[in-house]
Amino acid sequence: MLGDGSLERLKREGRIVVVGASLAGLRAAETLRAEGFAGSLTLIGDEPHEPYDRPPLSKQVLLGRAAADRTALPRLRSVDATWRLGVPATGLDMAAGRVRLADDDEVPYDRLLIATGVRARAWPREAEAELDGVFVLRTRDDSAALARRLEEGPKRVLVIGAGFTGSEIASACRERGLAVTVAERGAAPLVGALGGVVGAVAAEMQREHGVDLRCGVMVTALEGDASGRVRAAHLSDGSTVETDVVIVSLGAIRNTEWLAGSGLGAGPRGIACDAGCRAFDIRGIVTDDIYAAGDVARSPHPLFGYQFLSLEHWGNAASQARIAAHNMISESTDRIPHMEVPAFWSSQFGVNIKSVGVPSLGTEVLISQGALRDHRFIGVYGYQGRVIGAVAFDQARWLPFYQELIETTAAFPPPFPTVDRCSDGQRPLDADFPDPSVPTHGPTVTLGGYSPADRRMTFTPAH
C-alpha cells in the first residue's frame, strides 16, 4: 500500500461501510469526512433512528425532563453518506469484502468498521420476560416505553441488578416518588465495578433515598396475572415482592452473532482488535481492512500489561471510533494507537460518580480525600503496588491528578499527604471485589487476557 497510490485511490473513490449507526458509527463517519475521505460511505444500523445518545435514557428521560426522541447525538459536522437504517447486517464475507443485510442486499466494502455495540441481557426465562411490565433498558424505544409506564404511577418498581444502569433507574424512580425495590446478587450496588468498600456507600445512598435494597439475593421467578401482566417476583431468600414494573438490568451482550462463521475473531467477549483498531481474524492474525470500535471492541491496553480490555464507556466509544476512522485511511506510519485511560461517569441519588483507570482491577483502595460517610470522597485503587484506578464521588475536579498517577504507574499507596485527608484515608483497605468467577451484574470493564482468539481466551482475574 505504500507509495503505490492505492491509499490515495481509497480516499478518493473507495467504499467504506460502517455497521452500527450509534455513537461510535457516527463519530467515525464524521472523522472520515473531516479527514478528506471522498469515496462512498454507507452506515448500516438495525435501529430505525438516527444516532442518539444513551446516557440520558436512564437519567433525564426517566425523570420526564427530556423526551426519548429528543436525544439525537449532536452532529459535529455534516456527513455525506448513505444511511441504511432499520436493517440489520446478518453476515460478513471477508474474502469477497461484502456485508450481507437482512433484506438480502449485499454491500461491498474496501474498508469495514464494525461498531455494533452491545444489547441488554434479557431475563433468561422467555415466558416471564414477555410479561407486560417487564423491561430492559438499552435503546431509545426501551426508555420511551419505560418512561411512559413510570408516568402511569406504578405501585412498586423492581430493579433486578444494581450495576450503574440499574442504580440510575432506581434513582430516577425514587426522584419521581415511586416505591422501588432493588435486588442485587452481590453484596452491594456497583460492587463489580467499584468493590465492596465503595459499594457500601452506594448502598447507603440507595437506602437514604428510600430504596428497598436487597443484596445477596437473586430473583428466581417472575409471576404474571391472568392478563399477562407481571404482578410479583420471587426471591432466592423465599420472599416475594409484589410489583407492577420489573426492570431487568443484568448487563450486556455483545452484538457479534451476525459475524458467526465469518472467520473474524468475534465472540461473546467482543471483537478483538489491535491498538490501532484493526480486527483480528480467528487465527489471531490482524486484518488489513476490518476495524472495530466502541462497546463491541476489545483491544490491548498498554497501561494494563497489553491485556485485552473491553469497555462500555461513552468516552471510549467516541475516541476509539475517531482513531479507527483515521487509521482506516492512513499509511501505517501515520496510524495512531488507542490508549486513552478509561473514564466513566454516572449520576445517581444526587451524586456525581466518576472513575478513571480500571478500579475493578484493584485489590486495595485508599480513601485519599474526603470521607466515605459524607458520600464525598476519592478512592484510589492499587494493584501490585501501583495505582490502577480512581473513583470520585462528587469530587470529580481532582481526577486529572489521579489519571496522571495511573498513566505514570505511580506507587500505591500514594505516599504523600493531600488536602482533605480524613481518618478514612490513614491506610489502604481491602477493596473487596467479589470473586471474579461469580459474575456480578454488568461490570462495565472486562479484562480479557492476552489472546486475541476468543476460543483460547484465558481470563486473567483481577485478583
Partner: protein, 412 residues
Amino acid sequence: MTQSLLHQILDYANRANPYPIYEQLRKTPVHHDDGGPYVISTYYEIRSLLHDPRISSDARNLASTAGDPLAEPAQEEESALPPGFLRLDPPEHDRLRRMTNRPFGPPHSPHRVDGMRGELHDIVSGLVDGIGDPGRIDLVEQFSYPFPVTVICRLLGVPREDESRFHTWADTIAASLDPDPDADPTERGKGANDARMQLGMYLAGLIEERRKNPGDDMLSQLATAKGEDGSMTTMELLSTAALLLIAGHETTVNLITNGMLTLLRHPDVLQRLREDPRLAVPVVEELLRFEPPVQLVPQRTTLADIEVRGVTIPKGASLWLVLASGNRDPQRFEDPDRFDPDRPDNQHLGLGSGIHSCFGAPLARLEAQFALAELARRLENPRLLEDPPPYRQNAVLRGPRHLHISCDGIRP
C-alpha cells in the same frame, strides 16, 4: 547585572507587555531563585498543579513568606474577616463554595445568571448613554470600572440608594491592591482598612435586615439558607460577600478594558463583532487566553515535597502559577501570540482550573460579552488615543489604569 526574571515580572516597566518575559520564563518551566517562590510557567505543568491535591491554597501551610514579594502580610487586626473560600482548602472550601453556589448556579439556581441578562443590558447601555464627549473618553473611568460593582450590588441585593457608597468602598479597597509607589503606604493601608471596616459593617446591617425580610437576592438566600450543609455564620457570610465583591471587581474591569484595547488593535475582529454580536462569545474566550486579567496565582503552597519536571519543590514552598504564560505556551496553543477568536479547543487557564476555578465565571463571561458587543455596536469609528495606555502597578491583576479613546459619535 541582569535583573532576575521574578523581578522583571514585577517591574512596572514591563507592565504593558510582560509576554516576552514569560517566554524567557518558559525555558525553565520550574523557575526558582534562591529563597523566592517557585514560578511555574508552562501550560501542562500549571494545569496539573491546579488539580494536584498536594497543593494548598491556605497560607497557614506556608513554611515562610520571606522571599515572596507577593506574600500578604498576616492580618493581625481583630476586625479582620476570616479568609474567603479562595484561601481555604477542602473540606471548608467545598462546603462554603457549595453553599454560595446554591443561590447562584445549577443545580439549585440554574436561572440566576441568565436572569440577569436584561439588567446587564440596561446597565451597559446606561453607561454608554452617559459617556458624553466622544472626542475623549476614558473607558476605564466611564465604563469598565463602574460596571462590575453595579452588577455585584444587584446580585447581592444592595439597595439602589446605597450603591454609590458601595462604589466608594470598592474603589478604596481596589486601590490598596494596586500600590502606587508614590503614595504613603501607611496612609493607603489605613484608608483601605477603614473602607473594609465600613463595608463589613454595612453588609452586617444588610444581612440582619435580609434575615428579617428576605428577598430573592443572593444575600437574602445566603442569610436564610438551611440546606444539607446547614447555614453560614455571619462571619462566613461577610467574608463570602467580600470575596465576591473583590474577586469579581478588578478582574472584570480589566477583562473589559483589555478587551477593548485588543479589539482596537485588531480592527478586523472589531468589525466582525459589530456585524455579529454572537462573536462576543469566542472573543471573550480568546481574551481570557490572550490578555488574562489574573496573570498569575500567587497563593499556593506544597503540603509535601513534590517533583515537577525533575525539580523537587520542598514542602511549604510558595508557588506562583503564571496563568498568562501558560496561555501563551506554544506546546499547547498554536501560534500563541496571535489573537484569534476562531481558535479551536481554546481551553485557556484564564479562569483557573480545578476546585478553585472561577466561581463567578458564567457571570464574568456574560458581563464581558454584553460590554464588548455593546461598545462595538455603539461607538462610531473608535480609535486609541494612546498605545500602550498607562497601566496600574499591579502585576497580578494587570490592566490599564486609563484607556483613552475617541470616536466620531455614539450610536443610539
